[in-house]
């Protein structure tokens, strides 16, 4: 039998040359007359080891990495196909400590299966949740999700079951399930990894959502910066239709659900759910006033569930193992697990799925191995461009929505970006305003004008002009944006700005400990 060799098709792996590695493996195998079955899997999420090649052996899968295209011949020479020793041999994949310490529920299959194969998906517990859902009433499915304690992973952490219940109880001739795959936050890539590494779990989650609330059409709103995810998703959706898991008669149940990917076009604000809906309708992505909630009047005016990729991709395991199983993980009101993304100046960047409660310090040092540059980590931004900057003294904060709120920070979509001690926090504060100015939808004044004013004032602070006056001005401006913005783009830009000033006053020309 042909030996199975795995080379990721994840776009981060591709960005490091995975396609070339795969091509070299094919060519080398052909040259040596050995039969292989090359599978393009998702990434296991250990990006410092990409391209990570795996071989299926009698003992289990053996990993090699980081493999460069030029290493391929030597891997064959060393007989890597039997899992033999080689300087890049990482041992059995399942025994890699970095993976063993995780609790992979949503990411259970990512990196393990062929992402677009329905057969492989089913062989690894896929579609068990859907089978259970098909035997339940909509209300019972919603109850299971409510019991799981799952809260939206897109940023706002709203209980998913409660949102679904509103849509379930909104009478309408047509309802929609919209997946928010706009993942615009810097430092985040978990949505992408799911869509490239296990897209069928998202397809299954959306199908279950459709059954739960009585929606028959789903859309995945995918950011245009993810061309590889578009290909994987479309392949997976086509295969799910082919296998009878999507369409007019799902698994012979007589129930229908259709699914289509729509491409976004590079506007950060379109990740905000109402702006997203405008965009799907073919308009400029101007944020809508709420109420009405999208759950009551959403896409084309119909009741609509809008959920993040991770929220929806977590639904299958909840329906498979039960709400109780899922909610046994976590702490406080943060139940289950969070796929955390380590990014920026970290030695071992990657995807860590852990139950809520893990601390930043464990993530940065135990998993991350400290900074990539070898210098001390000075600041981390958690939760994307609208998230606060945290200093070392806050690294013991456990990942928990409420604990983060207590220190005026957010978890957001679970992205962690680390900076070493060369960072200039005044520059980062300036950038936060600049980003807001570039991405503002323009609907409200505090955001549209305030962000540009913020850049100007930060320039003066950096140039040490009228210092005290300008620090006060930034604070006033932030206050106006916090209180007077329609959505969190304007409303939360003050988080990175003020946290930078408060925790790193010395970068703003203030004395340490002095908070202007």
């Amino acid at each position: 039998m042909a030996i199975k060799i795995y080379v990721p098709r994840d776009s981060s792996a591709l960005s490091l040359g995975a396609n070339k590695v795969a091509a070299n493996i094919q060519a080398e195998a052909a040259k040596r007359g050995v039969e292989i079955n090359l599978i393009r899997n998702g990434s296991r999420g250990l990006f410092w080891l990409e391209t990570m090649v795996e071989v299926a052996t009698a003992k289990g899968r053996v990993a090699y990495g980081p493999v460069m295209p030029k290493d391929v011949a030597s891997l064959f020479d060393a007989d890597f196909m039997s899992g033999a020793a080689h300087p890049l041999n990482l041992g059995l994949t399942d025994e890699i400590a970095w993976l063993k310490k995780q609790e992979r529920l949503t990411f259970a299959r990512v990196g393990i299966t062929d992402p677009v194969s329905v057969e492989d998906y089913v062989a690894h517990d896929g579609y068990k949740g859907l089978k259970n859902a098909l035997a339940k009433s909509g209300a019972d499915i919603v109850k299971e999700v409510t019991d799981s304690g799952l809260r939206g992973r897109g940023g706002a952490a709203f209980p998913t079951g409660i949102k679904w219940n509103t849509v379930l109880n909104a009478p309408a001739d047509q309802k929609y399930i919209v997946c928010n795959a706009d993942e615009g936050d810097s430092g985040t890539y978990s949505d992408r990894m799911i869509m490239e590494g296990d897209p069928l779990v998202l397809v299954e989650g959306m199908t279950i959502a459709g059954l739960a609330v009585g929606a028959t059409q789903g859309y995945i709103y995918l950011r245009s910066e993810y061309p590889d995810a578009l290909v994987t998703l479309n392949e997976a959706i086509a295969n799910a239709y082919q296998a009878g898991y999507l369409g007019e008669d799902i698994c012979g149940s007589g129930k229908r659900f259709h699914l289509e990917v729509r491409r976004a076009a590079g506007a950060y604000v379109c990740g905000e759910e109402t702006s997203l809906l405008e965009s799907l309708e073919g308009k400029r992505g101007l944020v809508r006033f709420k109420p009405p909630l999208p759950a009551i009047e959403g896409l084309f005016g119909k009741p609509t569930v809008v959920n993040n990729v991770i929220s929806l991709a977590t639904v299958p395991i909840v329906l498979d193992k039960g709400g109780k199983f899922y909610q046994d993980f976590g702490m406080g009101r943060s139940r289950g697990t969070l796929p955390i993304q380590l990014a920026g100046n970290i030695k071992q960047c990657g995807l860590v799925e852990k139950a809520f409660g893990v601390t930043l310090r464990e993530l940065l040092y135990d998993f991350g191995g400290g900074s990539a540059s070898g210098k001390p980590i000075r600041a981390v931004q958690v939760g994307g461009p609208l998230g606060a900057y945290l200093p070392e003294s806050q690294f013991d904060t456990p990942l928990d929505y409420e604990k983060f709120t207590e220190i005026w920070a957010v978890l957001g979509h679970g992205g962690i970006v680390a900076f070493d001690d060369t960072v200039d926090m005044a520059k980062m504060a300036r950038y936060a305003f600049e980003f807001c100015a570039v991405e503002s939808c323009g609907k409200c004044t505090p955001c549209r004008i305030g962000s540009t004013r913020g850049v100007e004032v930060m320039d003066k602070i950096i140039a040490k002009e009228d210092h005290a006056k300008n620090i006060t001005l930034v604070r006033d401006l932030s206050d106006t944006m916090l209180n007077g913005s329609l959505c969190a783009l304007g409303g939360m830009t003050p988080y990175p700005v003020l946290s930078a000033i408060n925790h790193f006053p010395e970068d703003f020309g203030l004395k340490k400990g002095q908070v202007a």
Binding site: S11, S12, L14, S15, L16, F47, E50, E183, G184, D185, S186, G187, T188, Y189, D191, R192, R223, S224, E225, Y226, P227, D228, R262, R263, A264, A265, G266, A267, Y268, S279, L280, E281, G282, K283, R284, G285, F300, Q341, L342, A343, G344, N345, C349, G350, L351, A372, Q381, P385, G415, V417, A418, F419, D420, V423, M428, Y431, F435, V438, E439
Partner: protein, 167 residues
């Protein structure tokens, strides 16, 4: 945001292009929320959405020309003028900044002799900023014609540029 360069806004578009635009319009007539998929289809095909196509799109989808213009200009991805042969995007977002993207972008601008939203004199490369490519585990990131590259240092970006120019 996008600065048109050396082109009058009434860009002249060949009949051949107009025919293919009409075909894309035709294919999207019954699509709910057709405008975005249609604009993507046009840009994927010819590289941009010519302003001379706005009236045809507006008429077919029952919109005003101003609405079509409004949508094309709202989204950073769409361009209304022909770009260079290749598009190089440098990520400007936080994770990439933490790994030195500022120096990278300064180098690229200097080497290519252009600022963002501009095209090199030989028409080979249009430089664009991008705010996260989802490759933050391998910062700094850049992309050439949709191919994402990770841990891009100066040597690597020179390679990427040379490859594109050679192609």
């Amino acid at each position: 945001m996008r600065l048109p360069q050396n082109k009058s806004w009434r860009e002249v578009v060949s009949d051949e292009i107009l025919v293919s635009i009409d075909q894309h319009i035709e294919a999207h007539l019954n699509v709910p929320g057709a405008l975005m998929p249609l604009l993507h289809a046009i840009q994927d095909d010819i590289g941009y959405v010519p302003e001379s196509s706005y009236p045809r799109i507006a008429k077919a989808l029952n919109l005003s020309v101003a609405e079509v213009h409004g949508v094309v200009t709202f989204y950073h991805h769409f361009r209304s003028h022909a770009p260079g042969k290749h598009i190089l995007q440098i990520c400007r977002a936080e994770s990439c900044q933490s790994m030195g993207s500022e120096a990278l972008e300064a180098y690229v601008k200097k080497t290519l002799g252009v600022d963002y939203h501009q095209t090199t004199a030989d028409g080979a490369i249009t430089l664009e900023p991008v705010y996260c490519l989802g490759n933050c585990a391998c910062s700094p990131a850049a992309s050439m014609d949709d191919q994402v590259c990770g841990r891009v240092d100066i040597a690597r970006v020179n390679e990427i540029i040379a490859e594109a120019r050679g192609a």
